[in-house]
Symmetry: C2
Subunit: 276 residues, 2 copies
């Protein structure tokens, strides 16, 4: 029986985590270790400059969960390094309130928790539910939990490709409106941030990163496109960020034109070594 770590970035008491844990209990033995507060937008963190605390919480269904004062990725690290006596076989992160699409993935605590799993050699799956701004109070996590259950069951049965995590996003639709699953690539987010400068009561400026919620380019084949068409999006991600195509361009730069000293004399690169 698989030992599944459930975590999230909305905090251990978030209802999305409970819904996910309940679904995962159908598929394996579940341990919960999640942040003790909301870490949304907190990025891929490794806390090395302070110690971490872990406390026990009781969830709404009477089950036990653990929470640390670290980031979601710290929770995964703690578990992968042996906080629970039994090794972790799979990390499932979510269900996040709000989709994690396109460029969101490197900011997202939900997704970076799954990244941390992959770095620790454990499969990782991130699950997020698209949530229009004015519908936060009307969320039914049941559909997203079932979608997560299906993906995780397949991942357990088939195994995930090496070094790969899955980024699962569920559209904000009723059950009968759902069209199924799509395998997708990462799409293009469009951010609408702007700077909001204000003045405090003592006359000093402070700055909000303000602006409307991000939108995206709903291109077919992408995560954003799949949600726009009513599908659950399943995007395999890896941690090799190399821009292989750019290597060719950069190779044309005149790297050795200015050999004013030994440091700059021998220069780049043997094309045979820059692969694929």
């Amino acid at each position: 029986m698989k030992h599944i770590l459930v975590t999230n970035d909305d905090g251990v008491l978030a209802p999305g985590l409970l819904a996910l844990a309940q679904e995962m209990r159908k598929l394996g033995r579940v341990s919960i270790l999640a942040p003790d507060r909301n870490w949304s937008g907190g990025g891929h963190v490794k806390t090395l400059d302070r110690a971490l605390r872990v406390r026990e919480f009781l969830l709404a269904d009477g089950t036990t969960a653990f929470a640390s004062d670290g980031a979601p990725s710290d929770c995964v690290a703690l578990a992968a390094l042996g906080y629970f006596k039994e090794p972790i076989d799979l990390v499932v992160s979510g269900i996040n309130v709000g989709a994690n699409l396109g460029h969101d993935v490197t900011y997202s605590g939900t997704v970076t928790a799954a990244m941390e799993a992959v770095i620790a050699g454990v499969p990782g799956i991130a699950v997020s539910l698209e949530t229009p701004e004015h519908h936060v109070g009307e969320i039914d996590f049941g559909i997203a939990a079932r979608a997560a259950g299906k993906v995780v069951r397949h991942a357990i049965e088939n195994g995930l490709p090496a070094e790969t995590l899955l980024n699962v996003n569920v559209p904000f639709l009723k059950n009968e409106e759902m069209r199924g699953f799509r395998l997708t690539r990462q799409g293009l987010r469009v951010y609408h941030s702007r700077l909001d400068e204000r003045t405090d009561p003592r006359g000093r400026p402070y700055y909000w990163i303000a602006g409307d919620a991000p939108t995206g380019v709903p291109e077919r084949g992408t995560d954003i496109g799949a949600l726009a068409e009513g599908y659950v999006s399943v995007t395999p991600l890896h941690l090799d960020l190399t821009a292989y195509r750019a290597l060719t361009d950069l190779n044309t730069w005149a790297w050795d034109e200015d050999s004013e000293n030994p440091f700059f004399e021998l220069l780049v690169p043997d094309k045979s070594e820059t692969p694929k």
Copy 2:
């Protein structure tokens, strides 16, 4: 004349930032906006739940710098959104004490600052100096600054490929030991983390993420391999994390075997839509 934003993740008063800023002044007009404290390992952060402060600092060479209480990526966002009156043409981040290689890139404040630049539509370059643990007091940033100067000058002259940032790592070598530059792909980091459980004076446990510094696989063609051979490593990175090869594997999963209701009936994916 290019307007270059210099930032870092070691904090505005770090000597690596000053060395970088001085080198960049040879290439353009420099503005500095960096974190007011060390953010190492802090990941790709977007601070939306609190306002940010910006304060003015005087650097050791008598020039002016600005510092915010946000992450490196927040500093880039503030600048890209108009904190300085003139638009930013290029973001250069560093010089970090310690290399950012392999899987380090999503944790690294230095690299995620350059990612934030790319998301804002501005070229980004991260510069890090390999620093053996017991040599932190003996760092000469001059060599790394000159390497950065060379890369940035080429980037200004040739332009960076779209949606691409550069991750530059300089080996810890004397000038005469440097062998030049290598274009590389991201290599494999090997982390040696372990959990160090301790007990506080009140008998309660707390946990350090402990262990030796990460090493790496010094494969030829990779960032880690280039440093091991005495070269400055220049790795082009992008923010499309899609694991394209994994799409093919995942496509073989029996996604539609359990169509117990409409939600699960129509299933994945039209192969023609999952590209390259």
